[in-house]
């Protein structure tokens, strides 16, 4: 039987690729200098402490080196990137008030639709600023805060000062420092003690402007005994030159609290996605990550849980799908820093059409983390012989009272499984697609329905032209 091999075709990304005119209210000149940072601060009417913070972060940025490992970032030239683009829209609380072309984009991505049916609140960011934010009445009454980061800096200065870039300090790595200098937009969520937010909140990030960067800052504080599910979606149309995304997500999960953070990342394939996400988890609290990574030209994304509280737990469920021209270097980091902590990591990847997936991770169980447990499972699927898949997990165990195990597998779709499905009338393409969807199911089942559907569509979209 003839084996069908990968075609090297661009995939039609239809709705994600809608380009609006690069029609902005203000776009800062390209590059990264003290003047530019001051200009951003002026434009954003930063309080003094924030302006100083930005300038200090710039200094750190200039001192730090590019990583000496992972994907090649040499094509990134900060002199060619505009770090701040203000869309022609103010922050709206009514969807009707959002300008037409921006509204259309989000309409097609299904954002307001999802709000009506299954979300407790929605935020939408277009380029560097949030254009829409709303939340259900009853949550406001319970004291839940869900707003854009700029409003938070103005209205909740104490809360912001106490937490802003404390979980992810600017000297963590070069792109965190960059973020600290030029951050704009993003969401701020505060869930008061013992308040359970049963339906998810969602922020959607859209980068429209070419040769620009998005640097949104997400700060979530879930107080003691409270719970929240937060969803983050991202996309951008494709341009020929690189765009940069260096967002930062800081999550504080206090004692006995619960936070689930889900992401479907579908940036266009000219995007360098150098995002940083970190959570500090308190006593008996739990932090769950669900992550689907489909887009981007280069992605370096390693969410991190720091289990500081006794009995805290974390779970990571993630999938990466790399196609032609993509290098997705993703993974997870966990630090066990207290007694009786536990972590479960489930990572999957699919490589096809010349794409590269790398799973990179760190598990560290410190001396003080007696009686902790960690189990890791990685599975990589190779869909052809021109792609690449690497697994680079570091397991650093510093005490004996632990249960640690790590398992990884790499290989192709089994011929036997394909034959079995074909004997039931499925074509080879259908059979492979079914197996791949099944492979991704542990992740898609963790997502809200709309996102699971979106993820399956993305998989079908990615497989179109890949198989058959």
């Amino acid at each position: 039987m003839e084996k069908n091999k990968t075609q090297v075709e661009e995939i039609n990304r239809n709705i994600y690729d809608i380009k609006n005119k690069d029609d902005y209210d203000f776009k800062i000149k390209k590059g990264l200098t003290k003047e530019i940072i001051n200009e951003i601060s002026d434009q954003k009417k930063d309080p003094d402490w924030m302006r100083e913070f930005r300038l200090k972060a710039l200094e750190v940025y200039n001192k730090l080196e590019l990583p000496t490992w992972g994907p090649d970032l040499s094509e990134l030239n900060m002199n060619e990137i505009a770090t701040y683009v203000r869309p022609k829209s103010k922050l709206n609380t009514s969807w009707e008030d959002v300008p037409e072309d921006i509204k259309n984009t989000f309409d097609k991505l299904g954002i307001p639709e999802a709000e009506k049916t299954s979300l407790a609140g929605v935020g939408a960011q277009y380029d560097s600023e949030v254009v829409y934010h709303s939340m259900k009445e009853d949550l406001i009454k319970q004291g839940v805060i869900y707003t854009d980061m700029e409003t938070a800096v103005r209205e909740y200065p104490e809360l912001v000062k106490e937490h802003f870039m404390k979980c992810v300090p600017v000297y963590d790595h070069k792109f965190v420092a960059l973020h600290g200098a030029v951050w704009s937009g993003g969401s701020f969520v505060y869930v008061p003690k013992n308040v359970k937010v049963d339906i998810p909140l969602q922020s959607y990030f859209r980068l429209n402007s070419p040769e620009s960067g998005q640097f949104e800052h997400t700060l979530i504080i879930v107080e003691e005994g409270a719970s929240l599910h937060f969803i983050e979606g991202c996309s951008a149309p494709k341009y020929n030159k690189v765009n940069l995304h260096a967002g930062c997500v800081e999550l504080y999960v206090k004692d006995n609290a619960y936070l689930r953070y889900s992401t479907i990342e579908n940036w266009s394939k000219n995007m360098l996605n150098l995002n940083t996400k970190k959570a500090i988890v308190g006593k008996n609290a739990k932090m769950d990550w669900v992550s689907g990574s489909f887009g981007s030209k280069i992605s370096m994304l390693y969410p991190m849980s720091i289990l500081n509280g006794e009995g805290s737990k974390t779970e990571f469920t993630g999938i990466s799908f790399a196609g032609k021209g993509q290098n997705l270097d993703n993974g997870f980091k966990v630090i066990h820093n207290a007694k009786n902590t536990s972590s479960v990591i489930n990572a999957k990847s699919i490589s096809k059409n010349g794409g590269t997936c790398t799973y990179r991770s760190l598990v560290r169980i410190n001396e003080n983390a007696k009686n902790s447990k960690c189990s890791v499972s990685c599975e990589s699927l190779m869909l052809d012989d021109i792609s690449k898949s690497d697994t680079i997990p570091v397991n650093d165990i510093r005490t004996d009272e632990v249960e640690f195990s790590h398992e990884a597998k790499i290989g192709k779709i089994s011929d036997k499984a394909i034959f079995y499905l074909m004997s039931r009338g499925l074509s080879e393409e259908d059979a492979k697609a079914m197996i791949v969807r099944g492979f991704a199911y542990p992740i898609s089942k963790e997502l809200p329905l709309e996102y699971a559907v979106e993820m399956n569509n993305l998989i079908n979209l990615e497989l179109e032209g890949a198989i058959g």
Partner: protein
Amino acid sequence: MSEKLLEIKDLCVSAGEKEILNGINLKINKGEIHVIMGPNGSGKTTTANAILNNPEYTKTNGKILFEDEDITDLKTDEIARKGVFMSFQLPEEIPGISVTNFLKYAKNKITGEPVKIFAFKEELKKYMEELKMNPKNMERSLNVGFSGGEKKKNEILQMLVLNPKLAILDETDSGLDVDAIKTVSKGIEMFKNKDNAVLIITHNTKILHSLKVDYVHILVDGKIVKTGNQDLATIIENEGYGKYKNK
């Protein structure tokens, strides 16, 4: 009235370097139940896989006709859509897709028509009761973590739902206890009618106690060495394959 469904002519098949079948001839008419028996390694499973054109096997000679159409080189799914079904000796585990969804999807592929959900679910429920299957299994991933018996019953369920013209059952009875074999036989009886046919491949005769068959073929070293009626199975049961092996 007999009508020809499957015809195998001079079929030779090899796997890798090794020749397994060397010149099989077989005719199956509508309304008939055939049994191929033979010792381990005689080529029984190869025969079933060759009919469905498993790419792991290479046909070096001969033809397979289904309803007078040459299906020798068709792809597996095309053969399946013509109405040939195979119950696997070792059904594959497919994580992440539920039995219900899989069957719905496969049924749509086989019939080419949209599946009416309500009627489909009713049908499924009925079959499962007959086969004494645990309804919870329907929402579990296909064959994943199923016991040997559950897998085999699941194959029979698929046969009933997809309703092929020819069902090939490869060692469906092996590894099952007496009660399960009875259930499987019952499934075959439910399926069987004058317009379809069944080809049972087995190395023991247990399943033939509760099923009436028309022809028994003895397969040894890649060739059918003897064909007879149900009595032949009884002879094999008592005497074994010894005397055919020497040939």
